[in-house]
Symmetry: C2
Subunit: 446 residues, 2 copies
Amino acid sequence: MKQTPKKIAIVGSGLVGSLLSIYLRRLGHAVTVFDRRPDIRTIVFSGRSINLAMSNRGWKAMAEIGIEDDIKKIAIPLDKRAMHVVGKPMYFQKYGKDGEAIWSISRGILNRKMIDLAEKAGVTFKFEEKVWDVDLPEAKLYTGETEKGEWEEYKYDLIFGCDGAFSRVRHKMQRRSRFDYSQDFIDVGYKELTIPANADGSHKLDAHSFHIWPRGNFMFIAMPNLDGSFTCTLFMPFEGEISFESIKTKEEAQHFFKVNFPSVDQEIENLAEDFFKNPTSAMVTMKCYPWTYWDKVALVGDSAHAIVPFYGQGMNAGFEDIYILNEIIKKHGDDWESIFQEYQKERKPNADAIAELSYRNFVEMSSKTADPRFLLQKKIEKRFAKKHPDKWIPLYSRVTFSDRPYSEALAIGDQQEKIMQHVMELPNIEDKWDSVEVEERILSLL
Amino acid sequence: MKQTPKKIAIVGSGLVGSLLSIYLRRLGHAVTVFDRRPDIRTIVFSGRSINLAMSNRGWKAMAEIGIEDDIKKIAIPLDKRAMHVVGKPMYFQKYGKDGEAIWSISRGILNRKMIDLAEKAGVTFKFEEKVWDVDLPEAKLYTGETEKGEWEEYKYDLIFGCDGAFSRVRHKMQRRSRFDYSQDFIDVGYKELTIPANADGSHKLDAHSFHIWPRGNFMFIAMPNLDGSFTCTLFMPFEGEISFESIKTKEEAQHFFKVNFPSVDQEIENLAEDFFKNPTSAMVTMKCYPWTYWDKVALVGDSAHAIVPFYGQGMNAGFEDIYILNEIIKKHGDDWESIFQEYQKERKPNADAIAELSYRNFVEMSSKTADPRFLLQKKIEKRFAKKHPDKWIPLYSRVTFSDRPYSEALAIGDQQEKIMQHVMELPNIEDKWDSVEVEERILSLL
């Protein structure tokens, strides 16, 4: 359906805000993006930014506007996990079928690229302009130097809040009656660390793997960068016996890395130094509803649904919001009330599903990946999936290498889990895991 | 232990704020209460305020400071429910044992009384002074005419946030990292209505009963006032076939009351008029954690734990916070960090328990009180409790007529429910509900 050009404001120039601006611009709208921070393209960043894993849903949103190939140039495909388990040599776990991979990409580099593309498409950016208040029924924004100082008023037809987990736009919606909201922090924090490149610019670990050191209630991961370095993340409880709080000196940090991560032995100096230089950050699951206000305001991405990062789906879910929103816009044309209603009804159950899956993966990645029974279960599933690819798509693949709804992935995943629970109860399953009996048992339960 | 007098601010002069001020004043502290609203004692109110049900926990907090008798003078004891079920004559359900009752009391009248008592005790009140910001580490308050205008700064040793479900103090804590928070609205709203006294000042319905008209997914209740009137509440879905939204004209309202509540037939005119005069309000369960900031700031009452009103425990839970806090203060003296830590650890599970119980009662009161099997189960429980009062205290009594922790009531209530599920599965339970077999079955399961 036809679109009448509207005057649209987007709050937030992050990944979701800048991608949405390109989509809306292509539909013929006049788009202005506000951000309280300076233009990320003008900031010298060290490469120490958090790495993201772009997978199917993200790529689909890129492809729709023809920028998939451009973005692939700044990403590295990872087709497997590299498992660094205590007492075992490092081994690989393939993510999916041949050709399936997640792509390691630097948040900063991607964001710069997206803003470039948005500007080229005719989007206006207003950096270092802080939005303090939003008039929801009038779609007005108020910006200014300080909360108590003079404010400038802007009037739009539509406003999109793409301003992240601590969204100012949502904050305003939250004060209305009958707005459901929750923020739940996990007791585990994270800290970014770096493994630099070799002197010749090559990677010190396998460059096409997502490296994981699971250690029970803490975990270390590493993702490659184009420059040969790895961006690493240490996930660990804030408080307790082994925790961020318990490591107080450089010597304690060195000891911690030496004992727990011997395979990065030669990096101890670096890591221990980074440990005290970089902040410890918290992780939150944020849910809310509704996501829209009438035909005026809508939340997209983390402002509507922030999740813990353990499924690598935060950015992908936000980009999928935009892809789906665009499909709905095409259907309803100028009827923005219907567009927003359908958008939130369609996306909310999927956002809840990926929040749940991400939280479960937090438990799985940190504790279960070293549990022999869990690994056996995964081995059985994998064997079955390989033999019957039409009958068993693993949950990870449904989430990562598919564009079917997250809620469907969660529901089918729960069914599969129930079947596997039955299978795991078979006597001597350890000995006959690869038998015809087990295979037929699964077939009978499907 | 001894208390060094502190300079304390309380935000909110409602029931919890004014009671807490009396407790703290008695410990020797200098107490100032801020409220954005005018002094409730200077406002002419119509008697159309929401009625509260004071029960054991509330009375205990009154008795501790010797004001129980004063307050009982402005309350009416209700020892039973009066059930107005479709197709049955009205019947009574006693609440507890002889002498056990909940007390109907007007929020406005109680609040006036409490502020009087607080002033008499030496508390300073600053009405119509709006708190816009709180400096948590410094225990400073900022007040002013408008959010953007000039602010006055006040410095205290301690600040208590008693400013209700939409607390400004909590709002400030909420912006910190690792602060868990949720607000969940139910799809049912409520509206206050009134049944006036007879011409001679007497009550039109039994004055010592809590009147309930359960109607499946909506419900009408009435609580007596001292002046012969009843404060009534209609609970009903916001949207849907039978809903606030669906009643658009006075005729529709009259028809609605006539069809559904024939026993208040002669009040139709009033009720239909009130229906459009009074607002429809929403109900929320609000949870958060932590409740305190260091040794500086603490939340008490609804600001820490707002619940839906279906167990009549909102005020009682807030008053119990104060009673328990006072006990902990006596134990730790000047060590406010330990006081606040113990306070929140002790009260949080109990607040969560009464939130859960209140939500469950919402389901029970509106739908199950007309279900024959549910009523049979209650009848069996009641019979058994009467015969074995040492072995079976009903959940309602544990919550309402006890000062044991809410969390204990919830846990024991769940055990009792499990036992009753087994009992209800006995064949022909309808015919032998009062048999020795059933009694012995319960005894064996206990």
